[in-house]
C-alpha cells in the first residue's frame, strides 16, 4: 500500500502543473478513430469499449490518441483519462474506491491537503457577514452582457440534448 502512495502524490502534482494530456485513458464506448478532429474526416481505425489508449493531444471536443499501432482523433466524451478502467456501475478499482464509504485509516492526504467533509457542513453555523459579502458581489444582467460582448461571446442557438432512452417511460407522449 505504502509504495502506491508516493506515485499517487507525484501523479497529482504532475496533473496540476504540467499538461494533463500526456496520460493514459480508457475507451468508454465502441468508437472510430478519425484522421482529423472531425466526424467528416477519414476513419483510420476502430477501437473497442474498454480499450486502453494513450492520450496525445486535445482539441475542442476531440482527443488525439494512440491505440496499439493506430493513431487518430476520437470524441472527447468517448474516452476517460486515468487508469481506473471503464467506470461502469461498480466496475473498476477507481469507481469502487470512490463510491464506497471512506475508511479514515486509508485516506491519503495528498500534499498535506484536506478536503471538506460532511461533518464540516453539518456543523456549519450561519455566517451573516460572509453572506452579505457574497450578495454585495452580485453583478447586474447588463454588466454580464457587456462582459460577454467584450470577448465576443454571442448567444448561440443550441437545442436541448435528449434524455437517455432508458429513463424515458413508455407512454403515448413520444408518438405525438
Amino acid at each position: 500500500m505504502k509504495t502506491f502512495l508516493i506515485p499517487a502524490a507525484v501523479l497529482a502534482l504532475c496533473a496540476a502543473t504540467a499538461s494533463a494530456w500526456a496520460a493514459s485513458g480508457t475507451v468508454l464506448r465502441a468508437e472510430k478513430l478519425y484522421s482529423q478532429p472531425a466526424a467528416t474526416s477519414k476513419v483510420t481505425a476502430s477501437v473497442a469499449k474498454g480499450a486502453s489508449v494513450e492520450i496525445l493531444a486535445k482539441q475542442g471536443g476531440w482527443l488525439r490518441v494512440k491505440s496499439g499501432s493506430s493513431t487518430g482523433w476520437i470524441r472527447l466524451l468517448s474516452v476517460r483519462a486515468g487508469t481506473g478502467g471503464l467506470g461502469g456501475t461498480g466496475v473498476g478499482d477507481v469507481v469502487g474506491a470512490a463510491t464506497t464509504k471512506s475508511d479514515p485509516s486509508r485516506v491519503v492526504a495528498v500534499a498535506g491537503l484536506r478536503g471538506l467533509n460532511e461533518e464540516d457542513l453539518k456543523q456549519a453555523k450561519f455566517n451573516e457577514a460572509e453572506l452579505a459579502r457574497m450578495e454585495a458581489l452580485t453583478v447586474t444582467p447588463a454588466q454580464a452582457r457587456s462582459f460577454a460582448a467584450q470577448s465576443g461571446l454571442a448567444v448561440a442557438r443550441v437545442p436541448d440534448l435528449p434524455k437517455p432512452q432508458a429513463a424515458q417511460p413508455a407512454s403515448t407522449w413520444g408518438t405525438n
Binding site: 496533473a15 496520460a23 464506448r29 466526424a39 486535445k58 475542442g60 471536443g61 470524441r75 466524451l77 468517448s78 476517460r80 486515468g82 481506473g84 478502467g85 471503464l86 467506470g87 478499482d93 477507481v94 469507481v95 470512490a98 471512506s102 486509508r106 485516506v107 491519503v108 492526504a109 484536506r114 478536503g115 471538506l116 460532511e118 464540516d120 457542513l121 453539518k122 456543523q123 456549519a124 453555523k125 450561519f126 455566517n127 451573516e128 460572509e130 453572506l131 457574497m134 450578495e135 458581489l137 452580485t138 444582467p141 454580464a144 452582457r145 462582459f147 460577454a148 467584450q150 461571446l153 448567444v155 448561440a156 443550441v158 437545442p159 436541448d160 440534448l161 434524455k163 437517455p164 429513463a167
Partner: protein
C-alpha cells in the same frame, strides 16, 4: 385512463406554462391558488381567503406550474437558498480576492441569462478551500471551491462548471428533495419575513447546518445537470467542451485524493458522467463552435 390524462395535462401545463390553452388549466390554477392561499394565511384563520388576494395575483402561470411541482414559491425558494448559503459560508469563507469573485459573478450571470430563469438574482462565490467541488443552493446561490478553480484552464471550463450548478437550480433538484421529505407549507407562516440573519423556520426544514449540500442528489439529477449545463454553456457562446474537459481532468486524479472525497460521495464518478454525456451528445454538438475565452481567464494569485 382518466387519471393518466389528468397527469398528462398537469405535466403539460407545468412545463409549457400555457395554462389558459387547456380545459384543465383553469381547474389547475384554482388548485394552485388554494395551495398558495393555504400557505399565505396564518394557521389559526378558519375563514376562506379572498380569491383575489394580492399574494396570488402577482404569481405568473409558469410559476404556478413550478409551485405545484416543488411546493415552494420563489420567495420561499430564495429563503431556503439564503439559509443554505449562509451555512455553507459558515463552514468555508469566500476567497479574499474581489477581482476573482467579480469575474466569477460575471461569467456565472452571463450563463444564467441563457438559463431562462430571470425571476431570481444569481450569486456566485469561490470558497476558500482546497477541496475540489462545486455546490448549488436553491434560489441561485452557487459556489465553486478554490481547489476546483485552480484546476481550470480557461473561461469555457469555468462556464461549464457553473452551468452544471445553474442547471441544478433551474431544475429545482434540491427543492424536489426537500419537497419529498418535508411538509408543504411549513414555511408559509413567516413568508413575508425579511431578516438578514439565520432563519429558524428554514433551518428546521433543511436539517443541520449545510448538510443538505453533503447529502447529494439522485445520480440522474447529476447526469441531467451535465447535459443541461453543456447546453447552457454552448448557448452562452462558449465551446461546449468545458465541462467534459473538467471531468476528464478529475477522472485522471488518484481515487483516494482527500480533496475529492465529498465530490465522489455526492456525484457519480467522472468516468460514468463522461460515458453518460457521450451517449446524450454523440455528434449533436459537432457543428457548435464557441470560444474558450482563455486569454482573459482569471488566474489565482
Amino acid at each position: 385512463m382518466k387519471r393518466k390524462m389528468i397527469a398528462m395535462a398537469v405535466s403539460l401545463v407545468a412545463f409549457s406554462g400555457v395554462a389558459g390553452a387547456f380545459d384543465l388549466g383553469k381547474a389547475l390554477e384554482d388548485r394552485v391558488k388554494q395551495e398558495l392561499e393555504k400557505k399565505t394565511q396564518p394557521a389559526q384563520t378558519t375563514e376562506p381567503a379572498p380569491a383575489d388576494s394580492t399574494a396570488t395575483k402577482k404569481i405568473d402561470t409558469r410559476q404556478l406550474g413550478m409551485t405545484l411541482l416543488t411546493g415552494y414559491s420563489v420567495e420561499e425558494e430564495v429563503r431556503i437558498g439564503r439559509q443554505v448559503a449562509g451555512n455553507m459560508l459558515g463552514a468555508v469563507p469566500l476567497v479574499r480576492d474581489d477581482k476573482l469573485q467579480n469575474y466569477v459573478n460575471l461569467v456565472g450571470n452571463w450563463v444564467a441569462l441563457q438559463s431562462g430563469r430571470s425571476d431570481i438574482s444569481w450569486h456566485f462565490g469561490v470558497l476558500d478551500t482546497e477541496d475540489i467541488n462545486a455546490f448549488a443552493a436553491p434560489g441561485g446561490y452557487i459556489f465553486v471551491t478554490k481547489g476546483l478553480y485552480r484546476r481550470l484552464n480557461n473561461e469555457a471550463e469555468l462556464a461549464g462548471v457553473l452551468a452544471h450548478e445553474i442547471a441544478h437550480v433551474t431544475q429545482k433538484h434540491h427543492l424536489k428533495v426537500l419537497r419529498q421529505s418535508s411538509v408543504i407549507g411549513a414555511l408559509g407562516q413567516a413568508a413575508s419575513k425579511k431578516a438578514a440573519g439565520s432563519d429558524p423556520v428554514v433551518q428546521n426544514l433543511i436539517g443541520n447546518g449545510a448538510e443538505i449540500m453533503a447529502r447529494g442528489l439522485d445520480k440522474n439529477a447529476e447526469y441531467e445537470a451535465d447535459r443541461i449545463g453543456m447546453v447552457y454553456a454552448a448557448r452562452s457562446g462558449y465551446e461546449p467542451w468545458g465541462l467534459p474537459s473538467v471531468l476528464q481532468d478529475l477522472a485522471g486524479l488518484p481515487a483516494k485524493d482527500s480533496r475529492t472525497g465529498l465530490l465522489y460521495k455526492t456525484h457519480p464518478h467522472p468516468a460514468e458522467r463522461l460515458a453518460a454525456l457521450g451517449e446524450a451528445v454523440d455528434g449533436r454538438l459537432d457543428a457548435v463552435g464557441g470560444k474558450d475565452a482563455a486569454s482573459r481567464f482569471y488566474r489565482l494569485k
